[in-house]
């Protein structure tokens, strides 16, 4: 058993983990990155399509290229120690407050890391068939879209010959194109909502380009097949949300891909006593991205599911700077509450401070052009912002400059509410 002492442990070596580690190490602190795979890069490695890095690098890169940039920076930084094929299994605390991360390493056996701070950057998991309860048999050939993407792009396995995709989120759409390009027949995408979840540009370049049908307002109501999937039954939903069985039809297929949502990976966090926010399925965090557990921070998909990696990098980098302040002895200044208002699904972080600028991230619940975002503190208007185009699948970032707070009485309890109309 090995014991290692560092200033900070970052759990996860993907886009969030690498950016957070760099941010902490650049300020001179020793960081350990714990990564369960045999390489850094995380989910980016299997996202071989382009569209990454427009903000961070002013270029349109593929996932692996974006990961490569950060991997190269990480390898050049001597303060970052990388532990690959190492899985974190527990986070505890010593009597003096030091955090201990218990890990299993393929190379070294058990490694106990003690650190002043821990960063949760382990990303998210996919929602599965059980979460949406599709009736029918349980044959082979049912995959979540991300798993199919991993099997195809990393290991070279084509999951099937005739595929039906459930969910029109970007992962499902991207896989529709990818599968078509490897010779698989994509028979349709089934979406329960009246509009697609993914970006319009993906509807065009992943479905329309290949004449793949998109069934809006439909569900897969039954899966058939004994050892392998043989067909699905697809049923429309009426306007009042009821299943219209009479209008069902069937599609013969051998594979089903589920693209029905992502959930932050919170098992470690829950065991460590971190409070979970049910609006995001990630942790509650204060303005320093610290969870309810002292010294445990969170960023990236582990905190909330992102759509563009550039925001993950921004958030993780900022998290790293808060970790640095914390290790130096900085403690939380008085923070106000942040709550979601009209048409906002969730907003993060859950608190704000008045002595520096705040970057907030939120998701709208509606699709609209020329929408208006407005912010109230204790029910008084402080800021308004016009947004050209909003939709639930696109996160909104808000920069709250500290002079917005100049008229706020510092000693009172404050609630900041963000709404959209």
């Amino acid at each position: 058993m090995l014991e290692k002492k560092v200033n900070a442990v970052v759990i996860g070596g993907g886009s969030a983990g690498m950016a957070a580690a760099l941010s902490i190490a650049e300020k001179g602190y020793q960081v350990a990155i714990i990564e369960r795979e045999d390489t850094l890069g995380g989910i980016l490695l299997q996202c071989i399509h382009n569209g990454f890095g427009l903000q961070e690098f002013k270029q349109e890169l593929t996932g692996p290229e974006y990961a490569q940039r950060f991997e190269d920076f990480v390898h050049k930084n001597r303060k970052i120690n990388i532990f690959l094929e190492t899985t974190a299994v527990d986070i505890t605390q010593n009597d003096n407050g030091t955090r201990v991360v218990n890990t299993y390493s393929k190379k070294h056996g058990v490694i106990l890391f003690s650190a002043d701070a821990v960063v949760l950057a382990m990303g998210c998991r996919e929602r599965n068939r059980g979460n949406i309860a599709i009736a029918g048999t349980r044959p082979a050939g049912i995959f979540t879209a991300g798993l199919a993407q991993r099997l195809l792009n990393i290991d070279g396995f084509i999951p099937g010959k005739k595929v039906v995709i459930i969910g029109s989120g970007d992962i499902g759409l991207i896989m529709a194109r990818r599968l078509t390009w490897v010779g698989t027949e994509v028979l349709g995408v089934v979406e329960i909502q009246p509009f697609p979840s993914g970006l319009t540009r993906n509807i065009v370049q992943c479905l329309n380009d290949f004449s793949i049908p998109l069934y809006l307002n439909h569900v897969v109501s039954r899966i058939y097949g004994k050892e392998r999937v043989t067909k699905v039954r697809i049923t429309p939903i009426t306007q009042d949300g009821k299943i219209d069985e009479k209008k069902s039809f069937q599609i013969a297929c051998d594979t089903i891909l589920l693209s029905v949502g992502l959930i932050p990976d919170m098992e470690l966090a829950k065991n460590a006593g971190v409070r979970i926010n049910h609006d995001t399925n990630g942790p509650y965090v204060n303005a320093d991205l610290m969870t309810s557990q002292e010294g445990i921070f969170a960023c990236g998909n582990a905190l909330h599911v992102h759509d563009i990696v550039d925001y993950v990098t921004e958030e993780a980098r900022r998290c790293g700077s808060y970790v640095h302040d914390y290790i130096q002895g900085g403690r939380v200044k008085k923070q106000g509450n942040v709550i979601p208002g009209a048409n906002i699904k969730y907003i993060l972080p859950n608190h704000y401070v008045t002595h520096r600028n705040n970057r907030l991230y939120c998701r709208p619940m509606i699709v609209k052009n020329n929408a208006e975002l407005f912010i109230k503190i204790n029910k008084k208007f402080v800021l308004q912002k016009k947004l050209r185009h909003i939709q639930p699948s696109e996160m909104i970032s808000i920069d709250l400059e500290k002079d917005v707070f100049k008229n706020i009485q510092k000693d009172q309890n404050h609630t900041l509410e963000v709404s959209i109309r």
């Binding site: 071989i48 593929t62 396995f157 390009w181 185009h389």
Partner: protein, 114 residues
């Protein structure tokens, strides 16, 4: 048609007369360019994975450096699935230069050691 240059996804109306193409409905210059290109010669960036020689279940991601004319996509994919790459490789290396005289190169998008 819908412009795919950015997340807004403007609905474009593209018309061609004898001597020029007009684009309406775009909110920026990129939309105008996209509308014209899509009408005259639609192109797409192609991404795929290529087999690593002598390594089971090991693939390397690649991309076209610039958008490729749609009619060349199938032939390019066929060629990529035929190829095998030797390690080590560096991100940014040219795998195929000037595919079928289109002027488009195919690049490797990830570094991998032996």
């Amino acid at each position: 048609m819908i412009c795919i240059s950015c997340p807004v996804g403007c609905h474009l109306i593209v018309a061609s007369t004898r001597d020029r193409i007009t684009v309406k409905g775009n909110q920026c210059k990129r939309g105008e360019i996209y509308g014209k290109e899509e009408m005259l010669s639609p192109k797409r960036i192609v991404t795929a994975v290529v087999k690593i020689r002598k390594k089971e279940y090991c693939y390397i991601p690649v991309k076209t450096e610039k958008p490729l004319l749609k009619k060349y996509i199938k032939p390019l994919l066929k060629e990529l699935y035929r190829l095998e790459v030797d390690l080590p490789v560096k991100c940014g290396t040219v795998l195929i230069k000037n595919f079928e005289n289109t002027g488009i190169n195919v690049l490797i998008t990830r570094s991998m050691k032996n």
